[in-house]
Symmetry: C2
Subunit: 227 residues, 2 copies
């Protein structure tokens, strides 16, 4: 499903170049459940952005469902981002002037759903993350963990084939974090592919496989026995 060969990403800041990914090789299968771990600054979010077609690599190859991503047009990339991928950003990236409901409806607007269908599905997604009573609130009228959950609901609302979640429980207490992991589990059982970045070992243990990054390279890639 996802084949990555010698992927490199260099950020050029003029005076200095930062090699965020230094030649990453990884394959992720359909219905795989992978946790990506590693120190702060090791390249996790950079790798997620490349997988999610939000950014392009400096060199190397990325094949998504057999297609060479570097060869796709902007329009085709936008199509992939909207239809096949749900992204939970490390910094949430919510629209500040829109309510939780409006934020979660947005991917459904792009998908061309009718207003009543959008509303119904967005409401369902917010209830699934425990925010049924916060639908009309704007991001700055919510707690950090509530905003994180709006970002999660938005990523899941189109039922995308691939879910990329960058530290989805970073701002959640353990009980709420576990509820989110249970939600991801039900989605996983329906056949979706899940790639999640986390720095917490007990969150990572919900996955089937742990890939560890260090200094822009994969240090280890192990299947784990799930609890």
């Amino acid at each position: 499903m996802i084949e990555i060969r010698e992927l490199r990403k260099i950020y050029d800041l003029g005076a200095v170049k930062v090699e965020a990914l230094a030649g990453v090789n990884v394959n992720i299968l359909e219905n795989d459940y992978v946790a990506i771990m590693g120190p702060s600054g090791s390249g996790k979010s950079t790798l997620m952005n490349l997988i999610g077609c939000l950014d392009t690599a400096t060199s190397g190859e990325y094949f998504l469902a057999g297609e060479r991503v570097a060869g796709l047009s902007d329009k085709q990339l936008a199509e992939i981002r909207n239809r096949r991928i749900g992204f939970v950003f490390q910094t949430f990236n919510l629209l500040p002037r829109a309510s939780a409901l409006q934020n979660v409806e947005l991917p459904l607007v792009y998908a061309g759903e009718s207003p009543s269908e959008r509303r119904r599905r967005a409401r369902e997604a917010l209830e699934a993350v425990g925010l049924g009573d916060r639908m009309k609130h704007k991001p700055n009228e919510m707690s950090g963990g509530q905003r994180q959950r709006v970002a999660i609901a938005r990523a899941l609302v189109t039922n995308p084939a691939i879910i990329l979640a960058d530290e989805p429980t970073g701002n959640l207490d353990s009980k709420t974090g576990n509820e989110i992991m249970l939600l991801l589990e039900t989605i996983y059982e329906k056949g979706n592919t899940i790639i999640l970045v986390t720095h917490e070992e007990d969150i990572a243990r919900h996955a089937h496989r742990i890939v560890r990054l260090r200094d822009g390279l994969i240090e280890s890639d192990e299947v784990i026995h799930r609890a």
Copy 2:
């Protein structure tokens, strides 16, 4: 040092009122080290904002070093925020167009330090959080955990009497998180007061006392034996 009686905070959104704090009573001593825990949405950040004089309570009393905070002028509150309190925000709140160094220098500008002294101290604070090689980078040229560490460095650079840290390790891997906890420990040993919000039990165990919030009320307040 901090005396709080029946503190209430109600957010009025017109159609709905949210009672974020429902009558909190807590005393925090000088050189205390308190961890605040509780579910997402239980009022932790709201309580931190009130303690940090960033917001005002709806009712109840807050005495800081014997002074009644509700009776202070805006100028006096700004003075307290700049001189006595260092705040690590849950959402970092860095200036997007300034470098890490400039962001960390900002509290020293308010404190009237000379440019060379500011530069020296900001550089030291960034090195203390492991970002010696990221000083010229802007926030969007850094990873999530690096931005979090810039926010921490900025809160510590004036050596404030009270440090309020809202989920300071939420975006950090365990090794980097432990380095930050060691840094807070050295500051604590110098006599500063530390109040930290965390949802991770093993981070909380670095503190001397754990206060647990639920639905805007204090559910428990226990001294713990430190590991």
